[in-house]
Amino acid sequence: MSRIPNTFEILRRSGRKALIPFVTAGDPDPAATVPIMHAMVASGADIVELGVPFSDPMADGPVIQRSGERALKHHVGLDRVFAMVREFRDKDALTPLVLMGYANPIEAMGQTEFIRAAREAGVDGVIVVDYPPEECQDFARNLRESGVDLVFLLAPTSTPERIAMITRIASGYIYYVSLRGVTGVANIDLADVGAKIAQIRARTALPVGVGFGIRDAATARAICDIADAAIIGSRIIQEIETAPDSASERVAAFLSGVRLAMDAR
């Protein structure tokens, strides 16, 4: 069973919001990833999103593109990503873990094999950026039957009809993309985001996380007033990129500050 619903339930009871950091598997090198994940949890992450590197990350801005390129230099494919998940699970049986990536590595492995491996490794949720609901009905059903959540993106341009369709098939949480564009490139308009989240909440009881433009503790804190989770990707990769040798420490220091701000509301 996915650990995600329980995590959000515990947070809700204590009046706290979820901090969901992202890291690309294999960046800056494969040995660094699991320590970074543990450091994230130790510094306040409630859920960890682990990026599966892909050669053609169409929805990502330059920062996450570069992290994928660094990981691919080490030939990090899904098999090694699952090995990292298993290693993470050796020491952490509680924190939900979500894989985020693109369709083709899953297609290459085969959807059935991917789902089996994800469940066995201890994955709780999956985000496939370029699997819209129309193209992944079977995948969604099979994942659900295996107890793994399928998290979907919603965008500022998503119509009410699409919000309805996606919230019907989604589980775990909704990932609201806070700006028009790719990951990590611009600033968030909080009023816009708040209005859209209200529309989403009218359709679903699932928690709603906000990502794509959160770059500091203040923004994360502000997001907590309107959403259930702050999702942070590019800003963390920047820490790793700046000082690859002390990646865990820098990521932990950054996230601790964000956690503090989020809990001080």
């Binding site: 590197p53 053609d56 929805a59 369709a103 590595p105 297609e107 819209p132 993106l153 996606i166 028009r180």
Partner: protein, 400 residues
Amino acid sequence: MQMVDLPDEHGHFGPYGGVFVAETLVHALDELRTEYDMCRADPAFLAEFEYELKHYVGRPSPVYHARRWSSMLGGAQIYLKREDLNHTGAHKINNTIGQALVARRMRKPRVIAETGAGQHGVAAATVAARYGMECVVYMGSEDMKRQAANVYRMKLLGASVVRVESGSKTLKDALNEAMRDWVTNVGNTFYIIGTVAGPHPYPMMVRDFQSVIGRECMQQMPELAGRQPDVVIACVGGGSNAMGIFYPYIPLEAVRLIGVEAGGFGLSSGKHAASLAAGKPGVLHGNRTYLLQDEHGQIVETHSISAGLDYPGVGPEHAWLKDSGRAEYVTIDDSEALAAFHALCRHEGIIPALESSHALAYAAKIAPTMPKDTLLLVNLSGRGDKDMHTVGEKSGIRFE
């Protein structure tokens, strides 16, 4: 045969095609599909498209009987569909005019495009100038080095050319970057995709605009040769010129359709761009199709002497034509294409594009094995002026 009715309403050609994009792009594609559905049913739109093709592009392009080359080969008769004579020198303009007209109806003042060899970029810059639109072309830095003259052409036409340094710095990365631009600027921007790939409705829309090639041939071949061809041959990178000439012939089951992929240094070398011959189905750039990829599903770098065929995917309709058996797909390697390039120069006085030279090479390969009354129709999709440097270097000639 029902294959001409494809794709279905979700853009599927059998198991291929579809709309595999991030949610951030779905609305833009919905808008485009709605608008294009209106365009293709609107006589005024179709009349304007036709007018532009006639008066601006110079259509219809002729079909030419390459009599001298055919008799030297000693077998089948080779006919050439002269897309090289179009304004801007290739078939690409058929599509960019169509999409620019759609963009104008959608009131998008800015168009973007990706380009590999630069032909589609030039065609997009050309129509942007023609209709008074801002134009931004994304091009891999590797390709900019290989195709410096086309970069200058685009700039002359008023386009900005953005250097793409990500990934393999070639066409596929330019396409990724154009998609990112589109996601960010979707309110005022129309993305003119250059081939029959990408998410629905692009493969269908580009095919529709390019199928003027095949429709003209359907009329011209009986006039010139007394009947339809036995075989239609076209090169396939993304596959737009091939889809354009194949599409009207799909219902004529007696006509063999042969797509020619870039064999590069040979399939066994691993350095080629033959997605259908050596790839596996997967998802890239918004559609499911055959892709050149490694065992982890990462897209691999391709090689071809012709930048226009240097793409790791292929249009989804070709994937379906292959699986269904309606079309055959073969490969021609760099050296064979180069030999055909020289042959057409010397025996017919036509300098073909290196892309089209792959189709010519396959025609030259099979013609001698066929009776003299067999008719081969080859899509001469572009002219070779842009390839002077590449061919010159291969022959040890330097341009100063």
